[in-house]
């Protein structure tokens, strides 16, 4: 669905989305990474379970909420990818986190 303008000169890092390994450019947002890797949803809504992808990319709409490294409800468009990041599609409302 999205591709890089110029995919030759960028530094890449490895991360996982839904358990699959991907390489994405350093410095992009989690939302951009999910779009670049061709996923057709980042979450299912809590109300009707309908699929959503990032909509505004600027922290306004909260449609890009995902689970990152086990922590749910993260704004994918506001966070940068890092090496070995584990991104998971969020199904409905987030569960309460276990006590740490």
């Amino acid at each position: 669905m999205f591709r890089l303008v110029d995919d030759t000169s960028v530094e890449m890092l490895k991360l996982s989305i839904e358990g699959g390994e991907y390489e994405v450019p350093v410095g992009i947002s989690v939302a951009a990474a999910v779009l670049l890797c061709g996923f057709n949803k980042v979450r299912n809504t809590p109300v009707t379970g309908s699929p959503r992808l990032p909509y505004c990319m600027m922290g306004i709409c909260f449609d890009c909420l995902v689970t990152i490294d086990g922590i749910p409800n993260q704004q994918a468009c506001q966070l940068e990818v890092h090496e070995n990041m584990a991104i998971e599609i969020q199904q409905g409302a987030a569960e309460l986190l276990p006590e740490r």
């Binding site: 591709r3 303008v5 410095g27 992009i28 009707t48 309908s50 909509y55």
Partner: protein, 463 residues
């Protein structure tokens, strides 16, 4: 980072950058808070990493942000990046969420420069994966050098739609259609504004060059479009609409396959923090949006709170930058750093330049009004994307006697989700006004309450 600054500026777009840089130069103890990793706001997003001669496809106006960012970085102002403002009250106590920890900061003067957001464009299917705002398309281009790889359609109204079309053409991607939903305002309305916009002829030339480039590229442009719909099952498959152009104004039903649909119908002030600070708003019938009441210096209705740039009313990047500078002069005067004469002397040139940049606005606002169909959508159209409330439910609540958005929220959950009404607020007010016959001023807007951003109890406890 300290827990108190003489001056706190929120938002690192053109207005905030200019305000903070000038404040540091005047010797004020100033901090600039911003949610992004790098300065520039949305308009100059990621501009610091633009190399000489690189990324020319974004246009000259984008690169104008580079010296401004450098001016700020060299000014000595404290820069607090990656910080979300999750709390703000009328005593100007500001809660920041930085890397999982909450911090509270107080200040003597607050300059809000939180910019604009795109006007919501609720239409059937706008929640489908594959439908995004035109601004989102631009952010992907600016911050990640990403472009749509499949069939892409741009739809809506306004200068930003032309700009992104121009930028995509510079990159060399094919745009499958541009769908223009602008209602025709008529020459009698536009011409007087055009005459007044002549001092800003550079804006007019830029717009013309965009239009010519799009024409030359041979992109199919559909005008006078109504009944725009995004269609698909799990994600966007096609875009349908009725076009008014063709043989003898015959209306034709058209369906275009698309993987990506970028929507836009102008921008509106991002009102969350002005509202949280208790600033008075007023309805602007020309811009069809709320604006923050302020004077020429940016002084809002709340003592100690100043507003600059698009978060007050839509003025664009250049005017926003100048308004940021005026805010700082006023704040510096209020804090006894400069006297009245020094303030006024420094402001003379800024005000003259501001006047010129503002002169284009009535023309743009008149030429590109938002279409009514996407301000008061059909009953079945989703209005609140978070809680999935449609226009029919809001109309029903209004008929039941809900006189304002806050009552509608209580009855329908509309605006109660994580975006707190950012994507439905303007539509909800417009629907209530339309249904009850009340004015927008009578209907009013959602109240905002902290936390503005989801914050866990753990993060709060980390203060």
């Amino acid at each position: 980072m300290k827990d108190h600054y003489q001056l706190l500026v929120i938002g690192a777009g053109p207005a905030g950058l200019a305000a903070a840089a000038d404040a540091a130069r005047l010797g004020l103890d100033v901090a600039l808070v911003d949610e992004q990793n790098t300065p520039g706001g949305q308009i100059y997003r990621n501009v610091g990493s633009a190399r000489e001669g690189g990324r020319t496809y974004l246009g000259k106006d984008y690169l104008r942000g580079k010296p401004l960012v450098e001016e700020f970085l060299q000014s000595g102002a404290t820069y607090i990046n990656n910080a979300s403002v999750w709390y703000l009250d009328e005593r100007l106590e500001t809660g920041l969420l930085i890397d999982g920890t909450s911090h509270f900061v107080t200040t003597e003067r607050l300059i809000l420069a939180t910019g604009a957001q795109e006007r919501p464009m609720p239409l059937p299917g706008w929640q489908l994966p594959g439908v995004m705002t035109a601004g989102a398309g631009q952010i992907l281009l600016k911050s990640a050098a990403m472009i749509p790889s499949g069939r892409v359609v741009l739809a809506g109204s306004g200068p930003l739609l032309l700009l992104i079309a121009w930028q995509y053409l510079q990159v060399g991607i094919k745009i499958d259609a541009i769908i223009d939903t602008t209602p025709r305002p008529g020459f009698s309305k536009v011409l007087p504004c055009l005459a007044r916009a002549l001092p800003a002829f550079d804006y007019l030339l830029k717009g013309l060059s965009f239009i010519l480039t799009i024409k030359k590229a041979g992109i199919p442009v559909y005008k006078a479009v109504t009944d725009l719909r995004a269609e698909g099952h799990e994600s966007l498959e096609s875009v349908s609409f009725t076009s008014g152009l063709g043989d003898g104004n015959k209306r034709t039903e058209i369906n275009i396959e698309a993987e990506t649909l970028l929507l836009h119908q102008g921008v509106i002030p991002n009102l969350r923090l002005p509202l949280a600070a208790g600033c008075e708003l007023e309805w602007d019938p020309l811009q069809q949006s709320w604006k923050t009441v302020k004077d020429i210096w940016g002084q809002s209705s709340v003592d100690q709170v100043l507003v600059a740039g698009d978060c007050a009313s839509i003025v664009g990047a250049r005017a926003g930058e100048l308004q940021g500078r005026l805010c700082t002069l006023e704040a510096a005067h209020q804090l006894n750093k400069i006297d009245l004469q020094q303030r006024d002397r420094a402001a003379t040139r800024i005000k003259r330049s501001l006047q010129r940049h503002l002169s284009i606005r009535p023309f743009l606002d008149t030429l590109y009004p938002p279409a009514k169909a996407y301000q008061v959508p059909d009953d079945a159209t989703l209005v609140c994307r978070c809680e999935e409330v449609n226009a029919g439910q809001i109309r029903e609540a209004a008929r039941m006697g809900c006189v304002g958005p806050n009552q509608v929220k209580a009855f329908t959950r509309c605006g109660m989700g994580p975006c707190q009404g950012c994507l439905c607020g303007s539509t909800v007010s417009a629907l209530i006004a339309d249904e009850t016959g009340a004015s927008m001023e009578q209907v009013g807007y959602f109240r905002v309450r902290p936390p503005f951003k989801p914050i866990t109890l753990g993060e709060l406890a980390n203060t």
